[in-house]
Each structure stands twice: as structure tokens, then as C-alpha cells.
């Protein structure tokens, strides 16, 4: 797949602070999640992609073009900022039309697409109302409408579900998925909400303190963990785990005392789940709880945060 964003030892310093510290990587997914705790550098990376912040050193390319040629590149980008961004006295449709015209669309085409964008995001009925009268959820959707009206190839969404109530959040997530599945544009979503990214993205970059702490393909992770089973057993876990290993499975157990143990099993593709029940019966082991689970994004995120902490401790000479 052709790369969407290429980061080449990208360093961004703002004042005395280094915000992005040598980012390197290639992002090529249809929907890319940018995760990290507050202050990790997510918004700075988006601002750098838009040319708002210059790279102190290194380079960043979007669709193969250096972001220093920001003006030409911005034609291909739609941007939905995190904070409020609207002109309160304008009606919704006029605002989106105005923004589309600034992106280069002729007036008539801009008007047509402004109407379409408003219907697309579900605000068709409110398009002649002034933006200042919109609720927070409606303002978020209006921001999305202005970001897609000019037909960009890359959509940058900075915390798109910020401040939304659950139904509005669901609506936003559904829209992002629809845009992703339509296959017309790539999406980069910056968020600190793991669930949002997990529900919408296939590739994830986790930032921490301006560095890439993890970069993974969620689909591959999901596939590789498809047969990951966690059991709580009562009885002789030792003989049971030996028998499970005999099936060719990877297996580990953690005794909790009083004959209770937690057993983690990664089953080979050819082995069915019922084999576990058969072996448990043979070894007189009760299976009291069973979770058919995969590594969630939360596990990946926490592991990335932990790795960094370990590295940091190592750098400081601590055990």
C-alpha cells in the first residue's frame, strides 16, 4: 500500500521545548489512530502535517510531498480541529460553502457540496441555522462537514468525539467508519480515547513524550490473538496444562492458592475449543471461568507505556 504519511527523524521544537523527538515511520492505513496521553505530541504532529509548525529537523511527507510545500498539500487535506472552530453568525451551510470556496471550489460547486456535506453528517435540517445556536454535538458535526466538503484525500480529525454525549459519540464514530469504508480518503484520528480508535482504526501509532512508543497494525494484532483463551480452573492445573501443551498449544498457569489457578492458552488454528473441555474432564479439572479474548488496544497501549517507563528507569540506572 502506498504510504500516506512518512516521518523521517522528525523533530519539532516550540520555544525551548522539544515536542516531537525524532519520529520515524511510515503510515499507510486507511484509518490511522494517533494515540497518547495528554501532551504526548498528537496535536503537534497534526499541526506539523498542516504546516502550522515547521519541522526543526528531519522531514515529514504526505502522499510523497514534503509538508514544506504546505499550500499545495493542503488542497488534499481536510482538517477538523479539536477546539471550537466556526463563525458564529454564519448559517451552517454558508460557513461550509465559504470554507469549500477557500479550498478552491467554484461558488456553485461549493454550495452544492455544502448542502451534501450537511445532509451527509446528518445536519440537513439545521443547515440554515446560525452556527452560534448549534449544540456541541452539532458543532462537531459541522466541523466534520467543512472538513470533507472540498473532497480531501486525507482527513485529519483531532479528538473528534471531544465533549460528545454517548449518542452523539456513536453518531460520530459511525460517520468516521462510513467515510473509512467508502474508501475515498484516508483518515488520521488523534485521540486519547482508546475505544474511539479501536472502533474506527486499523493502524495505530502510540506517542509518548514526543516519541513513537508503539506502532502496530490492529488487524494483524487481532488476527494473531484470535485463539487466546484465559481460564480459571479448580483442580490439578499442572497435569491439565501439560496435556494442553500436548495439543501443540502455548500454555502458562498462575496458581492463586486453594487449588485455583489462572491458565492462559494460545490454541493452534487446527485445535477446537472443545478439546479444552475434554482434557479438563479427563484430568478432573473444573473450568470455572473462561474468557475467549484477544489483546485489546488497551493492553497494547499499557504495554507501550510500560516499555517506555522501563527504558527510562534503565537510563537513570535504576533496576
Amino acid at each position: 500500500m502506498a504510504p500516506v504519511i512518512e516521518l523521517d527523524r522528525l523533530v519539532v521544537r516550540l520555544g525551548e521545548r522539544t515536542i516531537l523527538d525524532g519520529l520515524t515511520g511510515t503510515l499507510a492505513g486507511r484509518a490511522i489512530g494517533l494515540l497518547g496521553p495528554n501532551g504526548a505530541g498528537k496535536s503537534t504532529l497534526i499541526n506539523t502535517l498542516l504546516g502550522f509548525h515547521p519541522a526543526t529537523s528531519g522531514a515529514v511527507r504526505v502522499f510523497g510531498a514534503d509538508v514544506r510545500e504546505a499550500k499545495a498539500l493542503r488542497r488534499l487535506i481536510g482538517y477538523m480541529p479539536e477546539s471550537d472552530a466556526f463563525i458564529s453568525h454564519m448559517t451552517g451551510v454558508r460557513f461550509v460553502r465559504y470554507m469549500a470556496e477557500l479550498a478552491g471550489l467554484p461558488a456553485e460547486a461549493a454550495l452544492e457540496r455544502a448542502h451534501e456535506a450537511f445532509f451527509y453528517v446528518g445536519l440537513g435540517e439545521a443547515r440554515y441555522r446560525k452556527l452560534g445556536t448549534y449544540s456541541l454535538g452539532m458543532k462537531q458535526l459541522a466541523k466534520l462537514a467543512q472538513a470533507i466538503a472540498h473532497g480531501p484525500r486525507l482527513l485529519l480529525l483531532d479528538e473528534p468525539t471531544n465533549g460528545l454525549d454517548p449518542p452523539a459519540r456513536q453518531r460520530m464514530i459511525r460517520l468516521i467508519r462510513e467515510i473509512r469504508d467508502a474508501g475515498q480518503m484516508h483518515i488520521l484520528i488523534s485521540s486519547h480515547l482508546l475505544r474511539d480508535v479501536e472502533e474506527t482504526c486499523e493502524e495505530v501509532v502510540i506517542l509518548r513524550e514526543g516519541r513513537i512508543a508503539a506502532h502496530c497494525d490492529l488487524e494483524t494484532e487481532r488476527r494473531s490473538n484470535r485463539k487466546f483463551v484465559e481460564l480459571e480452573t479448580a483442580g490439578s492445573a499442572t497435569s491439565f496444562t501439560t496435556a494442553v501443551q500436548g495439543l501443540g498449544a502455548e500454555c502458562a498457569f498462575y496458581p492463586n492458592g486453594h487449588g485455583i489457578a489462572r491458565v492462559k492458552v494460545v490454541l493452534p488454528d487446527a485445535v477446537e475449543m472443545r478439546e479444552l473441555f475434554r482434557l479438563a474432564a479427563e484430568h478432573d479439572v473444573q473450568i470455572r471461568r473462561m474468557n475467549y479474548r484477544r489483546d485489546s488496544l488497551e493492553d497494547i497501549f499499557l504495554a507501550a507505556m510500560k516499555d517506555k517507563e522501563k527504558k527510562k528507569e534503565g537510563e537513570h540506572g535504576r533496576p
Binding site: R74, L102, A103, P106, G124, G151, E178
Partner: protein, 298 residues
């Protein structure tokens, strides 16, 4: 595609020329401004002095109308550069009032709700943004300064044969002098509006800069008996530049009397130009500092 079909489609149509895209801003800006009846009424009011001055020129050239109005003799004042300095001064003050009204309306709504990153995330630069907003002001101010000024010149030239050719300097001075004032007002108006997000406060600040500066300059003149404090008096600086452009420095000049000028009380012309240039440069610097997609706090 009908609007009720909820599906996204990419845009593959033609694009507008990049170099003229900044004109989208004045188109929307002017439309919105003239949605206000009050502003429309004021804009119309700005042409009243022009109509009065045009009538004065016509009366001066028409013995029949003079007889009808029982005016004994024709005034030559309408033919002098002084008449056009007065015209420009009156229109210049109206331009100032219009700027205090319009400039904050142009910039504040974009800054109050953080719309600036949306402009600048498009193929649109900060310079184009300023140029687009400035075009709105420059269009309005042109319409009430040099355009009616040149119409008056044309009227006088049309009624008095040979006068136009002999006094072409007046037309040049009108055009150039008006543009200096327009640029000064536009840059200052936009700069102050960019720093003060509340429209009314921005208008008051703009008025304050003019009147406080003028008051300071005149106090300096009276207390210290020296002209250099007047470098903060922008209307005075502009008046001085206009008088130099029109070449009216005689003691009989009405403009000179109006501006409280006299030997030892006036700044040199170069100082007036330098004061105006410094104000414009300061305004550009303020705009550059303020109009950014993202503010960096170090």
C-alpha cells in the same frame, strides 16, 4: 447527486485560480456588512459631503443657479487645491469612523471562535487572509475617499475648460493622499482588531489610539513648545502629508488654519512620512504576531 442520498463522493471538478482566491473573503465580507441596515445607512451618509461639494462646484459655474439662489458672485475657492484638501479631510474622517466600525467586524468573528486554523488549513496563506480582509476595507474606503474626490475633480475639469490639465497635480494628490490614509487605516484597524477580540472594545481602542495620540501630541506642543510630540498625532501627520502632496503651505490655506499649523509648530514633512510608515510597519508586525493558526506559548 441529490442531497438526500447520504453518500460521500470525492470532488473532481475544476478549481478556481489560486492567485485570485483571496477575493472570496471580500465577497463574503461585503455581503455580510451590507446585511446591516445601520451600516448601509452610514455608507450612504458618507456621500452627503460629496453631493454638497459637487453642488458648490456646479453653483460656482452656473450664473443661472446663482441668480436663482441670489448669490452675488462666484467663488474661486472650488478651483483651488485647498478645496480638495478640505474634501479629502472630511472624507478622511468619515473613512476613519467607517474603519472603527468595520475592521473589528471583519476579524473578531474569526478569532473569537477559533476559525483561523480552518482558513489556514486550506491552500490559503496568512498574507492572503490579511489581503482578503484588507480588500473589504480598502474597497469601502476607496468608495468614500478618492472615488468621489476624483469625480469632483472631473466635474470641475468638465465645467472649467483647461483647468484639469493645469491642475493635474490635484488629481494625483487626491489619489495618492487617499491611498496613504486608506492603507494606514486598514492596517491599524486590522491589527488592533486582531489583538482585541471584542468588537466594541476594538472599535474603542482604534478611536483611542487616534484621539489619545492626537491629545498627547498637542499637549506636548503646548507644554514643551516643540513639535516632535505631534509624531503621535496621526490625523495631524496625515494632514501634513496631504498638504505637501497638494502643495498648500501658504498661510491662507484653510487646511493649515484647521490643523493649527504655523512656523515652528509643524513637523518636517519627512517626519510625517516616517511617522506614518512606522505606524504601518508596527501594524504589520502586530498582524504577523497575532494571525497564526496556532499560538505557541514558550
Amino acid at each position: 447527486m441529490a442531497v438526500h442520498k447520504r453518500a460521500y463522493r470525492p470532488y473532481e471538478g475544476p478549481l478556481t485560480a489560486e492567485r485570485w482566491r483571496f477575493l472570496v473573503l471580500p465577497r463574503y465580507g461585503l455581503l455580510e456588512l451590507f446585511e446591516s441596515r445601520l451600516l448601509t445607512a452610514f455608507a450612504v451618509l458618507c456621500f452627503v459631503p460629496f453631493l454638497v461639494e459637487a453642488s458648490a462646484i456646479y453653483v460656482a459655474h452656473s450664473p443661472a443657479v446663482r441668480a436663482l439662489l441670489e448669490i452675488s458672485s462666484a467663488s474661486d475657492f472650488v478651483r483651488t487645491p485647498g478645496f480638495f484638501v478640505v474634501t479629502l479631510t472630511v472624507q478622511g474622517w468619515l473613512a476613519f469612523v467607517l474603519t472603527t466600525w468595520v475592521a473589528p467586524v471583519l476579524i473578531s468573528p474569526d478569532l473569537v471562535n477559533g476559525a483561523l486554523p480552518l482558513y489556514l488549513s486550506r491552500p490559503f496563506t496568512r498574507a492572503e487572509y490579511v489581503l482578503g480582509k484588507a480588500t473589504v476595507l480598502m474597497t469601502l474606503l476607496s468608495a468614500i475617499t478618492w472615488v468621489p474626490g476624483l469625480l469632483l475633480f472631473a466635474l470641475e475639469a468638465g465645467l472649467a475648460e483647461g483647468w484639469g490639465r493645469q491642475n493635474i497635480r490635484i488629481a494625483v494628490a487626491l489619489f495618492a493622499g487617499a491611498w496613504v490614509w486608506i492603507l494606514e487605516l486598514t492596517l491599524m484597524g486590522l491589527a488592533l482588531s486582531a489583538w482585541i477580540r471584542w468588537r466594541i472594545v476594538a472599535s474603542a481602542a482604534l478611536a483611542g489610539v487616534f484621539f489619545m495620540g492626537a491629545a498627547f501630541g498637542e499637549m506636548w506642543l503646548e507644554v514643551l513648545d516643540g513639535p516632535w510630540g505631534r509624531v503621535t498625532n496621526l490625523p495631524y501627520l496625515m494632514g501634513l502629508v496631504w498638504r505637501s502632496l497638494f502643495g498648500v503651505f501658504s498661510r491662507e490655506s484653510v487646511a493649515q488654519e484647521m490643523l493649527n499649523a504655523g512656523p515652528g509648530r509643524d513637523l518636517p514633512i519627512w517626519a510625517a512620512w516616517a511617522g506614518l510608515a512606522a505606524t504601518a510597519a508596527l501594524s504589520v508586525w502586530l498582524l504577523d504576531r497575532r494571525l497564526r493558526a496556532r499560538e505557541v506559548v514558550s
